[in-house]
Symmetry: C2
């Protein structure tokens, strides 16, 4: 069994991006600029956005944080999106989800100019991804593909089982894994809460991508010898062994599953660190106008 | 074994649409208007477009056919698309594919206002479909779903195997079949040219959607007893038994497979007749501004 070290790969990619930013600046080019919009004071969202802003600074991007209180109206937020759409100085921006209940996340997401949608959530980017066209890939699917690429894990003709059909992981990663591409070219099965024989299906998998959000769902007796297992789960499970009082727990019962795997991602330190890197990469691409003019 | 009669279902839906058009007109509403753009004189395209225009007339729509010679420039065609985008009288329009090699199909497709894209090929419609949002569904996937719906075929929790990963059938129908919806809620496996154990996978399927474009690919020994088989293939195979000199042949070896099925679509007369009906339905929805304002 070998560990897929997402933390190390993410650090390597950050270095690559930082070097490219140095070159861009040296050549008199524009410093990539990410803006992040944060509504309210949810602890998780605060942390995520703070990490994104810090990551931008570390690679030499310009970053702007725009904050609104919980009671911002949808209209005000749409006006903010429109300002960012029009602002030629901003290459890409994100509106951190979830938003308060009185604001339509779909409406906000669709209002973002898809050419600045570095989260890859806009229907144009989702559609282009599905069609195999250049686009901003959303962070988690892109991070998974990049890990498979960097570790040279063979995917062509393999049977990839995706657990979960969410719009942000299961569906897009299944599309990417079936694409005529490298990584890709897999036979893909998507399982979810309605799947009846999930154990039987998992036992056929060469590659399992677990994204159900159910802690330790995938047990040792559900995985065949030599499988590649990618664990997307990050559920906070109460724990008396950590200072924070919880423990990040994946969808994979690591101790049981790992001994059977050829490759496996740990939680934490697997897919997680890759997601911010994907956002940085999209912002770099946006700054270079590499996907959309 | 029972036949899924696409011709009969299509006729029924045409009647329903025609009735609704009568009511719309009686209430002083706008007659739905489809425009079709045809470039060149390809025999297949001529026939398809002629059938679409005739189908429009039969249900009481207004239709307009715009023709260009093979040597039309991309710029001229883009200008035509822009005129149709701006024309408030036109509810929806299609540009018949394939286009001559000097014109980018992707560029033309993306230039169409997605609110008039009744073919459902624009990235916005593809993306919204994937995200489970209201949209114009493309014709073949929509026709398949409608057949399953009209025949009350149980899909929830079933294992649906899709053969083929094309942008116009395999990928979108796999997305629809996994969606939390009825029909839908299937465990979905997508197989293609790189799949190694396709027979073994097909034998696990409760529902098989064959869209490889390989005549009689699916043989009797690849299907389990009681399966539902949807045949999307329509390859012209030379034949000395027909006046035209060819025979429309599906991806399913019907004589071998049908006896094992609970339900099966014939070719012709299965999925084929549903595709034009899906276009009519999208045009009706466009006329009513039921999806986009």
């Amino acid at each position: 069994m070998q560990l897929i070290d997402g933390k190390a790969v993410a650090a390597q990619i950050r270095r690559e991006i930082a070097e490219e930013v140095v070159q861009i600046k040296a050549a008199g080019g524009k410093t990539p600029h990410l803006a992040a919009v944060l509504v309210g004071h949810d602890g998780g969202s605060e942390t995520y956005v703070a990490n994104k802003v810090r990551a931008c600074e570390e690679v030499g991007f310009k970053s702007t944080l725009i904050r609104y209180e919980e009671d911002v109206t949808e209209k005000e937020l749409l006006a903010c999106v429109e300002r960012l759409n029009q602002d030629a100085g901003v290459d890409g921006f994100i509106v951190q989800l979830p938003l308060p209940g009185h604001i339509s996340e779909a409406k906000i997401t669709e209002a973002i100019d898809y050419r600045k949608d570095v989260d890859g959530f806009h229907p144009v980017n989702v559609g282009r991804m599905s069609l195999g066209m250049p686009c901003f890939l959303s962070a988690t699917p892109a991070g998974i593909i990049e890990l498979l690429r960097r570790y040279n894990i063979e995917t062509k003709g393999k049977h990839c089982v995706v657990l979960g059909r969410s719009n942000i992981v299961g569906k897009p990663v299944s599309m990417l894994m079936m694409q005529k591409a490298t990584p890709g070219d897999c036979t893909v099965t998507v399982c979810h809460s309605r799947t009846r024989n999930i154990k039987e299906i998992c036992l056929q998998a060469d590659i399992i991508i677990a994204a159900l959000g159910v802690p330790e769902f995938l047990r040792g007796d559900m995985v065949k010898e030599g499988a590649v297992v990618i664990d997307v789960g990050t559920t906070r499970v109460p724990s008396d062994k950590t200072k924070s009082g919880f423990k990040l727990t994946g969808d994979v019962a690591f101790n049981e599953v790992a001994p059977k795997c050829s490759w496996i991602t740990p939680v934490p330190g697997g897919v997680g660190p890759m997601t911010i890197v994907s956002l940085l990469r999209n912002t770099l691409l946006a700054g270079k106008k590499a996907i959309y003019v």
